[in-house]
Symmetry: D2
Subunit: 284 residues, 4 copies
Amino acid sequence: YGKNTIKFLRLHKEGKKQFVKEVEVCAHLRLTSPQEYLEGNNSLVIPTDTIKNIVLVLAKKNGISSLEQFAIDICNHFMTTFCQVAYVKAYVQEVPWQRLHEDGVPHIHSFICVPDGIRFCEAEQCRNGPLIVFAGIKDLKLMKTTQSGFEGFYKNEHTTLPERHDRILCGEFFCKWSYGECKDFDFNCIWKKIRECILEAFAGPPDCGEYSPSYQKTVNCIQMLVLSRVPQVQVIEVVLNNTFYNVVDMKNLGLTNDKEVLVPVETPYGSCACTLGRKTFFEA
Amino acid sequence: YGKNTIKFLRLHKEGKKQFVKEVEVCAHLRLTSPQEYLEGNNSLVIPTDTIKNIVLVLAKKNGISSLEQFAIDICNHFMTTFCQVAYVKAYVQEVPWQRLHEDGVPHIHSFICVPDGIRFCEAEQCRNGPLIVFAGIKDLKLMKTTQSGFEGFYKNEHTTLPERHDRILCGEFFCKWSYGECKDFDFNCIWKKIRECILEAFAGPPDCGEYSPSYQKTVNCIQMLVLSRVPQVQVIEVVLNNTFYNVVDMKNLGLTNDKEVLVPVETPYGSCACTLGRKTFFEA
Amino acid sequence: YGKNTIKFLRLHKEGKKQFVKEVEVCAHLRLTSPQEYLEGNNSLVIPTDTIKNIVLVLAKKNGISSLEQFAIDICNHFMTTFCQVAYVKAYVQEVPWQRLHEDGVPHIHSFICVPDGIRFCEAEQCRNGPLIVFAGIKDLKLMKTTQSGFEGFYKNEHTTLPERHDRILCGEFFCKWSYGECKDFDFNCIWKKIRECILEAFAGPPDCGEYSPSYQKTVNCIQMLVLSRVPQVQVIEVVLNNTFYNVVDMKNLGLTNDKEVLVPVETPYGSCACTLGRKTFFEA
Amino acid sequence: YGKNTIKFLRLHKEGKKQFVKEVEVCAHLRLTSPQEYLEGNNSLVIPTDTIKNIVLVLAKKNGISSLEQFAIDICNHFMTTFCQVAYVKAYVQEVPWQRLHEDGVPHIHSFICVPDGIRFCEAEQCRNGPLIVFAGIKDLKLMKTTQSGFEGFYKNEHTTLPERHDRILCGEFFCKWSYGECKDFDFNCIWKKIRECILEAFAGPPDCGEYSPSYQKTVNCIQMLVLSRVPQVQVIEVVLNNTFYNVVDMKNLGLTNDKEVLVPVETPYGSCACTLGRKTFFEA
């Protein structure tokens, strides 16, 4: 069993144009025997330092055409090289460098970090089992300033929340989906398409939006849209950590406040999570 | 389904002496129906705001005799009050306030925050299932400056790590254990005893220590000692995120360095985790 | 003397189109008398809670046409309302919400958080002194993958760094400038122009870039370009916290590495700072 | 001009007993000429890498008898070795490792991290100027559950805060003081004494405490006690970032709450700072 985190840059050139990927990789191994734990026998242990070397060598040899392909390469290497490995998982996350543009002209070797949703993926495999690939986006912060409410919820003597039909919907999304049998998928293209689905399902049509009766329903809309538009996705999990905003009561200060000034309610924040798959599968 | 985080102080007095608990509570609910997600029907949803009110009311009424008892109280409340709740989990974590002492005299109402390992617990229950209680300690940072090595590990063409028989063992521990049938346990007393076991198994006898052949073996020693000394513990999980330190090579600077100056190796750090139970159960 | 941090949303509509500013404001006061400290006499103290109310009321009444104008409004309010205030400083920072676009169409009420450089400003005033306005950008991360070196530096017996003429230049920028007499500046427009200057001076021409002989020279180029292009700027300070990357030595692993795989050197990172003004003024 | 951060361990043994210091060091240089910025001429620049080597070499040669002495050693080295250095500042901070005890017996080589206030110091010198030494404690969190109020403050139409004579006083302290002419001070002993003064002035007598009419007055009491008890201290600055706690209003929930359950008010937090010296010097 081992785990590590390694951060590195992979550069390549096409003519004079430079390309860069900066990634963080965690590789996670489970061995066939627990003898290292029980007996202090290290003979099967693959040191973190060796794992790091392997990841760097694979990056050098194969490049990083997509995060997913790189994670698959890592899994394949450990499974085929080390017979003492019972299970391997590779997590790969990207630092969101984007090419700089000056007046619309792309720069040949300069980049800016734009963290508006972080791309990641995971590949895992048990010995004699299938290779499973996940991909996702995290730290994606979205806000709707209207077309959101929360009404008709369960009430009892501990209820103090008023019903609201025009609140702010704001939160940080974590979305993770699994691919079925990975043939020759264009992982980069699919990821972009899914990101667009998430934004579209969150926001609704650009001219009018779409009413959200709860965070939960918005989570479900995102899942439904991704599953309907992207056939390669088998299951999709969405977690929404939402921030509540209260309209500031300014009566004591002699003013009306028509949803113009709002303050975030830091504690408690809410969170809702749901996993949705293609057939009868449902887990909340 | 809902989740929340709420932080609050619970004070009480005995005569003029004041006592304080500051805790963070996350309650996590799963409902019997997913209609909120699929249909936008909120009629069974218990708002985060209501959950917060309930937690505060329970703290007011029952006090916090132990984190574990408070988590049990929360589970019981949700299960007995709301028939739409299929599952409840309550996580409770303590802010480590300790009474101030002046020249050995305890102060009647002043406290200092001493975060040398954070106490937490978790209680969870499915409808018609047993109430399960976990407790733990996290963010516990320990170091041994000698009596630790790593030798005899697996080697191939990607190995560059040298064998070492006198390295630094340093890391952050996360330990979490489950109790069996919770009768009238003195949770506060047991927690302190387990913390002492962890420190003792990590460090060995005060006059000479005990050699650790690997992080993994140290993890196992901690688990074995806790299981042998504390009969109430059924299963114990230990995760160790270790920091590696390298002796600085000072040859180029014209100096020898006999393990006097070391620098931390920040990437990759290692991590090892193990869960150990009482009978035939083993998972790495 | 007082200080506070308050975070809030300011919404407004033009027809059905919604606009949002989320800001964090710190107001910092110094009073004419230290009697609160020395005597425990609170009669001149303006509580944090009152400061918060004033900031929210100003946001409600005036809106936030620009961060700078809002900071000026806050200073003016405290100076004209409270004769016990000897000095006031208002710091305003923006949460970088950007309007969502779907297929190029701007959304009427949905936003995404894009933290690629945080805008902030500061206004300060002593009683009977001028109002001074600063603006800036922070947490701006930029990288050049070539056209950067570091050669010809001072060497002695403690030098181990090799000279390099093709390294990575990567770092996080903090830039802060002051405006002269603030007449009717278009603060939003000027800020965007300065941001473009920073990117241009960092990167050089898009087709070939420009060689940087050191972090320090790049810092100076940014300052020179801003001062030459933006007459409203009087003084500009630039701090660059740079990240070093080392080409991984793969000889032991039987591979050459032609600047393809690099790892960040986390400790020590470097930092350089410089303040440059218009005339004879120079401070490093 | 340069700056760096370097973290390392310094070990030493006395017989079989092991001792450890883990420190973070920032060295900050200003050069006599800005030619590196203006002309890209690096010939006087001392690379971060060289600065790191020097710090490690000094640690190896001199050990770290106290943080202050180590900071002084660094300043002396740069001033005497490099004639192009116009100014040097060395900041040294300690990772709070404490020796483990088992049943009261100190362990020979095991340590636990106890961050109940972080010790730091700073030494700085301009060429031809005196060497000035500062020391301090930061991240020290203290709480009093009674004997604190805030009354009689300034009120106007924006005031909504009620007067309180029995609130919680809780906050994080930053204290930094300067020493006069540093002769043969026992910096370790003085630091401990000052820490005790801070705790005592905050808490008051252990059996009854002492009433605090404001955060500001408590800050002043700390300063006065340190200045009266520790003659080596010339000036002391104290910053208190306080956390406010509100008694939860439980009327709507049908309960009274006699200061038993309180929630922290996260935004805005308050902050007060004061610098107090020995003679006529005063700045708030």
